[in-house]
Assembly symmetry: C2
Homo-oligomer: 387 residues x 2
């Protein structure tokens, strides 16, 4: 294949964002040929905005079997990512899905199995993996510069969302519509990066979610999670949507020092001697290893959607390994599911989590929801500045 004919599924905010850079030719080897959406109006808008040549489909399966696309980029609501991916894979298409991988891991595991069986290229839009800050953090950990990790701490509370944001779509902030709150909508990148940059495997977690705090919503918008990793390290993840201006600070402490990513900067406090070695030799009272504070040079750029689409195209066209394999979407989602589950059962959750139990508890919430909010659906928000 020399050129991938791409279809976009779901022409909401994110779908249009992808169509925009694709029609400008920003991704080599990819041509946008088709768009699908349940709304005929949205399809018409897409055609007038992105080109009369686009094939349009109100039924996604019609698109998958139409012969007009070699791969699809799935930008539907969260719940539909796995079923749409599975369908597209069955029709022999390559698949790139928006984040999150899905709402519950049980569903995502099925998608992963379908992808593995298909032999097709399956990617996920974890564009923050291409953010030089986090790519560098991972490199410093993987290369051993930081030594064994002993603690992680991410405060990611700069997801301010007003009540009017939640009111802008009937599905927002509901169990039936989104399957969760800040964890499923705002945090998927951080939850992925938390595990991807450190490479740590969680062993068990205890988490504390508040639901509809200072906001008229039914889902979680305030979370503190504590995790114990297989190597004995511990970690904390704090997130919310009501704090202004909020914080985005990720600290990783290791045997050879400490790294903090904050305000677009990566700072490495580097020990000249590993702590373990120092501790074994030192005979004094209050001493500690010599430490250098280092500003690690990192390009000031955000992770780009375009870069992930290019990466996925290169994997299809040239067999390059994916930066963000779709199968890895389950890791961040399992952290997210674990946080809710631990809150719901008011107890520890071991990894891998009990997927059936999570599914059951989620269904309970959907079934028993009495939450009604003012219907102001249909407002299209300007998503510039979001990821």
């Amino acid at each position: 294949m020399e050129r991938i004919r791409l279809g976009i599924v779901g022409m909401g905010n994110m779908g249009c964002g992808h169509a925009d850079y694709l029609t400008k030719g920003a991704v080599k080897g990819v041509e946008l040929t088709a768009v699908a959406d349940q709304s005929r109006e949205k399809l018409n808008q897409a055609v007038s905005r992105f080109g009369e040549h686009l094939k349009t489909f109100t039924d996604t399966e019609d698109m998958y079997r139409s012969g007009t696309v070699d791969g699809v980029l799935i930008c539907t609501p969260h719940y539909d990512h796995p079923p749409e991916a599975i369908k597209a894979l069955k029709y022999g298409l390559h698949v790139l899905i928006e984040k999150p991988a899905g709402v519950y891991t049980k569903q995502v595991r099925e998608m992963n199995e379908a992808a593995a069986a298909s032999g097709k290229v399956f990617g996920i839009m974890y564009n923050q993996r291409s953010n030089p800050l986090y790519a560098k953090l991972r490199e410093l950990i993987v290369s051993g510069e930081l030594g064994e990790v002993r603690r992680t701490n991410w405060i990611i509370t700069n997801w301010y969302r007003s009540q009017s944001y939640y009111d802008s779509g009937g599905w927002r902030g509901t169990w039936a519509g989104e399957g969760g709150g800040v964890l499923i909508n705002q945090d998927p990148h951080q939850l992925d990066l938390w595990q991807w940059t450190t490479g740590l495997k969680p062993k068990r977690m205890r988490a504390f979610c508040s639901f509809g705090k200072y906001r008229n919503i039914e889902v979680e918008n305030d979370v503190t999670a504590y995790v114990e990793y297989e190597n004995g390290a511990t970690g904390v993840f704090v997130t919310s949507t009501f704090e202004s201006p909020g914080t985005n600070r990720f600290e990783v402490s290791g045997e050879r020092g400490k790294i903090v990513v904050e305000d677009g900067k990566l700072t490495f406090w580097r020990l000249r001697q590993p702590e373990t070695e120092f501790n074994a030799m030192y005979q004094g009272g209050f001493g500690q290893p010599e430490c250098w504070k280092i500003d690690i040079p990192v390009k000031q750029e955000e992770g780009q959607h375009r870069a992930i689409t290019q990466d996925w195209a290169d994997a299809i066209l040239h067999g390059k390994p994916l930066l963000a394999p779709g199968e890895e979407g389950i890791h961040g989602l399992m952290l997210s599911n674990a946080m809710l589950l631990s809150t719901w059962i008011n107890d520890w959750v071991d990894f891998p989590i009990d997927e059936d139990l999570f599914y059951e508890k989620l269904q309970e919430r959907i079934r028993e929801s009495t939450f009604r909010k003012p219907q102001t659906e249909g407002i299209t928000l300007d998503v510039s500045g979001t990821h």
Copy 2:
């Protein structure tokens, strides 16, 4: 009274530190007249260092009834603070105790009751309350500048302690000797400031302690605690002794912005309009209140022991209210006890904690301890730079 004749009880590191500035006349209205210690050698050293005129006592009760002192500064090992304070109060003396107030709240409550009944001035060496950074933080919260507090987060992991530190005294890092680890020895100031600066009342807590992590000790040296306050706010406290260089960062988020105390600086991200007000009015998608980043001017000085001793003396001599009343020592200690208790029972702990249960569990640890370490007792550490 025009002049307080002061006795110091316990001439270890801290006792000598206090004697040093007192003999230099650094505290107005106070004269050091006597010292007590079980060790005759330490008393001899004290006399040769701080003056031949000092009365010396190997039995503290002899000092209390000797008529040579009007007040005492108690610098014994932690466990002895309450019984010594109670004894001194009974002899009609004013009392200033070193931190922590004690090892378990049951014991400290008895001390508080004795102090209340005595009518004497009872203070605690919470010198960090005189640190301009934390005094300013408290002022900004108490005055309403920050609005209602919604989250607290203190990462205090810069208590690096090597194995040789723990080995320098047989009592260090043992249940029988100290009654705890980082919480009882290193963190009392932060635990006090955590509650004193914010004024928040804890409702329940879930905490996770690790014991003897990367170190040959039996007590906790790695703690993550999650707290829910009566007003609905939440908080996190993370502390350890094996991280180098570690972090000391205290963030408080409120309805009117966010304050961070770190690296000797206080930064206030101040909203022009309270978040609640903005949220009630705003009709858009991703907006948030206008925010100013403000560097609050704060003098670069540590909280001083001398200042607390002066404050206590002024309370005795001039009836001024205490900055650090002894009765308030129980608040920080209860947080510390709650963290251990939650770990031991692997469950939530409600406030006020079950003091008998904590006492019982602590006695179990002392009774069942099989921990033995190399005896290198008697090394005197240079404590400059500690609080």
